[in-house]
């Protein structure tokens, strides 16, 4: 679906990513995980050409993003950015309607189809009841759902989420990721989540990528990727990993930081 081919990127002289290769499969939820400042967000920005790599390329179903307009990229790839602080008093419906922008010409009004898609997106994310509320008066969790609805209104193939749980209370973290998981299954959406939140990624992602030292350290199912060795190398922690039969999921037990002799 989305192919990252030998990408290298540096800000000025400082290398951020070196020769990164990732194949994102159709319909999967894939988590990109690594410590803060490892270049995860940069990688996400490269995935919809908000940044251009110095080396390598990104392909969307075989087509190089370099040759596509921002508009046509936005018709296939939607983003839920990390910061969703909005100061201006747009209504929720205004914001979700912006998802239709990539499909409309300068003077073209929204058609009945566009309106229907916007309403649908609000229904799926359970925000229809506050469609007329002002975005600048809402909580972080509510805003997150509004931005996810906007992403759905783009009718994309791929949704990129940047640290979706960063500013949320723990119950809202689960709420948002449950929503993403449900949408991914119902709509066949491909989802890329960038996060430093290990338990969340383990719980929700089909596959994951560990980024370490500007490179892909490991790629695969949480089961394959998460080992005591990789935990030590990437996060500098000692951890025990075991399959929890009751939860039907991999459980990560963190013992402590390597540097403190745990």
């Amino acid at each position: 679906m989305l192919t990252v081919e030998g990408i290298s990127f540096s800000y000025r002289e400082k290398p951020v990513l070196k020769d990164v290769n990732i194949e994102v499969r159709k319909g999967e939820i894939i988590g990109i995980l690594g410590p803060n400042g490892c270049g995860k967000t940069t990688l996400l920005k490269l995935l919809n050409r908000n940044l251009k790599p110095q080396k390598g390329r990104v392909l969307m179903e075989g087509a190089d993003l370099e040759g596509m307009s921002k508009r046509s990229i936005a018709r296939q790839i939607a983003v839920v950015p990390q910061s969703n602080e909005i100061r201006f008093a747009f209504t929720v419906r205004d914001i979700v309607s912006m998802g239709r922008m990539p499909f409309l010409d300068r003077f073209q009004g929204e058609s009945g189809d566009d309106t229907r898609i916007v309403e649908e997106a609000m229904e799926k994310t359970n925000i229809k009841e506050f469609a007329d509320r002002l975005i600048n008066n809402m909580s972080g969790g509510e805003r997150q759902r509004v931005i996810i609805a906007r992403a759905l209104a783009q009718r994309p193939e791929v949704i990129l989420l940047d640290e979706p749980t960063l500013h949320l209370d723990i119950n809202h973290q689960f709420e948002v990721l449950d929503l993403v998981k449900r949408l991914s299954k119902e709509e066949g959406l491909t989802v890329v989540i960038v996060s430093h939140d290990l338990p969340m990624v383990v719980k929700y992602c089909d596959r994951m990528v560990l980024i370490h030292d500007h490179k892909v350290h490991a790629l695969g199912t949480p089961h394959d990727v998460l080992t005591p060795e990789s935990m030590r190398t990437v996060f500098n922690i000692n951890a025990v990993l075991e399959y929890d039969g009751a939860l039907k999921a991999l459980a990560v037990k963190i013992i402590g930081s390597c540097s403190n002799g745990h």
């Binding site: 000025r12 936005a74 100061r87 002002l134």
Partner: protein, 341 residues
């Protein structure tokens, strides 16, 4: 809290009100003469049914000034609305970014050092536009950090460059000697000398700039959420921003060139309208055109009638004296909606 239905109703009411203000003060302003016409006389003469003297007063004496007021007010109104959206800052305006000072330096130079090879009527707007664009690129480049232009540095650079250019205009005024009175009068804003020839130059520039702005209103909405949001929604942010900055320079230069510096229109009008109608630029930009025109029309009428013993006051004084207190009142009353909380 503001409900959508209420906001829609208010938008319609405000627009209707603005058109009414514009029309009433236009007729009142057209009626101005040594012995002013009554409202009815002016109204009928406007429709081509008055006496010959009335027609001359309306069409020959006053119409150029009225049309210039509408054009300049509309231009400053929409340019202010666009800049506030572009920089996500309610304090942005052609004046804050130094554009007005840039344009006025160009115009002041043209007024002081008349040249023979080009008529002054063209020389003034030409130099105003050149100087306005130069200011824009100077400010833009000073504030650009590694390919990005953060709002904070842009505003600070605009204020610093604007202060320097204003000082240069003052210096010119000081050394200008003979032309000094003219420049002083002009720096206070003045519609009295508006001529049809000037309008022929100003109108196309403001129309062109306004068209670019209105056609970008949807992109501008997305950019108000932040550059990253706009990029994610497929907006070519750098291109659109550059287009809008050039259009703003064009409109500001055209507005400043013949009537001088008229402050507060570009800051206050869009701001008030955003509080009343919401931030959607598809509504706000057209409304700022009407609002700017109505506000300046009203101020021109007041500048002509408020102090008959002194004569006509410079319009820039009136716009600031009316605009600033109302602006402060709104800021105190509705802090949260203007982003002051």
């Amino acid at each position: 809290m503001d409900s959508v239905a209420k906001r829609k109703r208010r938008t319609t009411a405000v627009l209707a009100g603005l058109f009414l203000i514009l029309f009433v003060f236009m007729v009142l302003d057209l009626a101005q003469a040594f012995i002013p016409l009554t409202f009815e006389e002016a109204f009928w003469a406007l429709l081509g049914m008055g006496t010959e003297t009335d027609q001359i007063i309306i069409w020959r004496m006053n119409m150029p000034r009225v049309i210039m007021a509408i054009l300049v007010g509309a231009g400053l109104g929409i340019a202010g609305a666009v800049m506030q959206a572009l920089f996500r800052n309610p304090m942005a305006s052609p004046y804050i970014l130094g554009l007005s000072s840039g344009a006025s330096l160009g115009a002041a130079v043209a007024l002081t050092f008349a040249v023979t090879w080009i008529p002054q009527m063209l020389f003034v707007p030409l130099l105003a536009f050149a100087s306005c664009m130069a200011t824009l690129f100077l400010v833009y480049n000073i504030s650009s950090v590694g390919g990005r232009v953060p709002t904070e540095t842009l505003l600070l650079a605009g204020i610093a460059v604007g202060a320097m250019l204003s000082a240069l205009v003052s210096l010119l005024t000081y050394i200008a000697g003979d032309q000094m009175a003219g420049i002083v009068y002009w720096t206070m804003g003045n519609l009295t000398n508006a001529k049809w020839e000037n309008i022929m130059i100003v109108a196309p520039l403001i129309f062109a700039g306004g068209l670019i702005m209105v056609s970008s209103s949807r992109d501008l909405n997305a950019m108000m959420l932040g550059d990253a949001h706009a990029l994610d929604l497929g907006v070519e942010v750098r291109k659109v921003r550059l287009q809008l900055l050039v259009a703003s320079a064009l409109v500001t230069a055209a507005a400043v060139a013949f009537v001088g510096v008229i402050g507060f229109v570009g800051l206050v009008v869009p701001h008030i309208l955003r509080i009343l109608m919401g931030p959607d630029n598809r509504v706000l930009l057209p409304a700022s055109i009407v609002g700017g025109a109505a506000f300046l029309m009203m101020c021109d009428y007041i500048s002509r009638t408020i102090a008959p013993s002194i004569g006509i006051l410079p319009i820039g004084i009136i716009t600031a004296l009316i605009g600033a207190p109302y602006f402060i009142y709104l800021l105190r009353r509705r802090r949260s909606e203007v982003g002051w909380d």
